[in-house]
């Protein structure tokens, strides 16, 4: 019997109680000891090494696309690293430590295996408190909820382990010492004081694992989506036989030749499950498909209304995320319009970034350049390619649209004469 046990017994009535608390305490000490060396201090935030060769994952809002970043492992050992792959929409950046070998690391766990109520710890550097001695902060809590849709955190783990400004990019860790999420977002108090309220969000490890080869390959990461389909939520009273709210999402319209059509889905079909996850509403659907890279083929289950039996028949199949053509040409097709540039496909809030400009095409003639960000189309704000596509789809070849464009921090106006797309384009 050690001192702790003896002292506790003095006032806890039952030695059994003490033993149980001691077991918990030991688990917590063990996991902290195991994972702490893999924690990495990085600028105004946190990060974690997930591989002995020095792959370090953090939030995009912490590391961006920087090169030659100063990194300090817990305890203070300093390295430099470069961001290799970045994901502005998923808020992740992957860094390669220069000359990294046999580094302390903490491997990615299975975030789909998490249970609500499961204990977790967060390791981080809130308010940069650890910068004076390179000692990270450890906080302890539970998994409060799973699959939260919070803007661009489309499939977030919610935790009450206290995370605060500076924790961003740091790991959420199970009692087995596996990284199950990257903490990056909190619900905050009033008056703009950014302090935790018991609600923190982490990006799940399974999303990270699926994108890891893309991150390592380098460049910007894009997210999966169901292309060429109009979706509704079941229970929509404007439609018949589309079930109750929460059953799933239904197909309200299908574009010709889309992956959804190729998946043999029809208008009215209800998708209830994708890759074993219930797609109970539109946000959840985006949360599922958005955590897979475009080009992934996912299994779905659903049901189809049978007019004769007046009941649903079961349905299952596979569907490709993204548009196969667009995957090659970066999804730049709007009807028969020729606008002469390829958008950098993403869902972010900053407009439509021009990725490539076709030589002598309409965009080139209008003076658009790669890197330009289109903010408005005929005075209508476009937050994404999807928005812009919606605007352009109202136009006809031969029309001129007025674009408001940001270039190098300056706003400018561009008149884009829409052409007609040739069959082979």
């Amino acid at each position: 019997m050690n001192i702790l046990t003896a002292a506790l017994i003095l006032f806890a009535q039952d030695a059994k109680d003490v033993e149980k608390v001691k077991e918990l305490q030991k688990k917590l000490h063990d996991v902290i000891e195991k994972v702490k060396p893999a924690f990495v201090f990085l600028g105004g935030g946190s990060s974690v090494c997930i591989d002995p060769d020095g792959w370090v994952i953090t939030n995009h809002h912490v590391a961006g696309e920087q090169k030659n970043i100063q990194l300090h492992f817990a305890g203070g050992k300093a390295y430099t690293g470069d961001v290799v792959g970045w994901d502005p929409n998923g808020d992740l950046s992957l860094i390669k430590v220069k000359g990294g070998k046999d580094l302390p690391f903490c491997e990615l766990g299975d975030s789909d295996g998490l249970k609500i109520g499961q204990p977790v710890i967060a390791v981080g550097n809130p308010f940069l408190l650890g910068n004076e001695n390179w000692e990270p902060t450890v906080t302890h809590g539970i998994v409060s909820a799973l699959h939260r849709y919070q803007d661009w955190y489309m499939d977030a783990i919610q935790t009450d382990a206290q995370i605060n400004p500076g924790n961003s990019g740091g790991p959420l860790i199970t009692m087995e010492g596996k990284v199950v999420g990257i903490n990056g977002r909190i619900e905050v108090r009033r008056f703009n004081n950014r302090v935790n309220t018991g609600i923190g969000y982490a990006i799940p490890s399974n999303q990270i694992r699926r994108y890891l080869p893309h991150f390592k390959a380098g460049g910007k990461i894009r997210h999966g989506y169901l292309h060429g389909v109009t979706l509704g939520e079941t229970g929509d009273t404007r439609y018949e036989n589309v079930g109750e709210y929460g059953d799933g999402i239904f197909i309200a319209g299908i574009d010709e030749g889309s992956p959804v059509e190729k998946a043999k889905l029809r208008e009215g079909d209800i998708i209830t499950e994708i890759e074993g996850q219930r797609s109970y509403n539109l946000n959840r659907l985006h949360g599922i498909v958005g955590t897979w890279p475009p080009g992934s083929t996912l299994k779905f289950k659903g049901k189809r209304w049978n007019k004769e039996t007046k009941a649903f028949d079961p349905l299952e199949g596979k569907v490709l995320l993204g548009d196969p053509e667009a995957l090659a040409s970066k999804d730049a097709v709007v009807g028969n319009l020729d606008f002469g540039f390829l958008p950098a496909f993403d869902y972010d809030d900053f407009g439509v970034e021009v990725d490539e400009v076709e030589q002598d095409g309409p965009a080139a003639k209008a003076g658009l350049k790669p890197g330009d960000v289109i903010k408005k189309v005929d005075a209508v704000r476009v937050k994404s390619w999807a928005d812009m596509k919606a605007e352009l789809s109202r136009k006809k070849a031969g029309q001129t649209v007025k674009l408001e464009v940001a270039r190098d921090g300056k706003e400018m106006n561009v008149d884009l004469l829409l052409g007609e797309r040739k069959a082979d384009q």
Binding site: H29, K36, V195
Partner: protein, 333 residues
């Protein structure tokens, strides 16, 4: 946090839930006699103002009612957070666990460590045994016991030791909820031993209260200054304390230089018009590239100096350059 523990226990599928609760209750009962309520009557309270500067009553303003203190010796010395007893104080009343009340004298304080010493004319009080610091580990289960708002009943907040060395090693950090009621009370181990006196949650500090970032000034640090605190009969700092200068903005190394990550409410930086995301390019006419460089340049100044910061800010996707004049103050940390 208690929920977290209960969850751990449930996952284990045994009656550990009850075990943990029993141990915590025993800690609470053991520590309660050593925790006092402190009522302060003031004529002015600059430290207690919240984000609005006192214009409107808000979450960050010091609320009415008692706060907490820790019995330090059996002959009437009480320790608390300096924040609890700062301001122009008319009267301090200490209420013991048995309801006895004493008028207290405010003796010395140490602003950097956020502790203050009170004296009441009482004998045979119960003081807590002290934890041995080198036996503590990051992740230890800990509890904070307070005596507010009800002077007759203690509060119990449970968490873990988040870090052992904060503020140049003078404090430990905990995720047990610390707020304006229980601050000044003891942070204890599950053996009921005193780790430190809870501290450092002034409204001007970026973590504020109950955000899961709380502190306790270590008993060993208090031991070092205790004789000095006793000697100061009518307030005053317990000795010269070297403190950093600040403006109330959190400067970090960002992509293009020194970025403002956070602006503390009611600080000189807020007054000067700093915004989160600003990139500091120059300090007092000298270019700065890293947060460390900026800290060095700031250290060459003295409190009260008003210094220009040249910052770059994105306004509607355009970069604008602004010069913000901020007054340097002694850091509250």
């Amino acid at each position: 946090m208690i929920a977290a523990i209960l969850a751990v226990l449930l996952v284990q599928g045994d009656d550990s839930t009850a075990s943990f609760a029993k141990v915590l209750r025993a800690v609470k009962d053991k520590v309660a006699p050593c925790v006092v309520a402190i009522d302060v009557t003031r004529t002015a309270d600059p430290d207690g103002k919240g984000a609005s500067g006192g214009g409107n009553r808000d979450y960050y303003e010091r609320p009415g009612g008692p706060t907490s203190g820790t019995v330090w010796t059996d002959d009437g010395y009480i320790l608390t957070s300096w924040f609890n007893v700062s301001g122009d104080v008319k009267k301090i009343v200490v209420t013991m666990h048995d309801g006895k009340q004493y008028e207290a004298k405010r003796l010395g304080y140490d602003e950097a460590k956020d502790v203050a010493l009170l004296k009441i004319e009482a004998k045979n009080l119960q003081a807590l045994p002290k934890a041995k610091f080198d036996e503590l580990k990051q992740g230890d289960f800990v509890a904070i016991i307070g005596r507010s708002p009800d002077r007759e009943v203690v509060t119990l907040n449970q968490g873990i030791l988040s870090a052992l060395g904060r503020f140049k090693g003078s404090a430990v950090q905990t995720d047990a909820e610390l707020n304006y009621g229980n601050v000044g009370g003891p942070l204890v181990t599950l053996k009921g031993e005193l780790i430190g006196v809870t501290s450092h949650i002034k409204p001007q500090q970026p973590w504020g209260q109950s955000g899961g970032v709380g502190f306790a000034t270590k008993t060993g640090e208090i031991d070092k200054i205790f004789e000095d605190l006793k000697k100061v009969k009518a307030g005053g700092v317990s000795g010269p304390v070297a403190k950093a200068l600040w403006v109330g903005a959190l400067f970090v190394d960002g992509g293009e230089g020194v970025m403002v990550q956070q602006v503390v409410a009611n600080s000189p930086a807020e007054e000067a018009g700093f915004e989160e995301g600003d990139i500091v390019q120059e300090f007092d006419g000298k270019p700065v590239k890293t947060a460390e460089e900026l800290a060095k340049l700031m250290a060459e100044k003295k409190a009260g100096d008003i210094v220009p910061f040249k910052v770059k800010r994105k306004v509607k996707d355009k970069d604008v350059i602004k010069t913000l004049k901020a007054k340097l103050e002694v850091s509250p940390n």
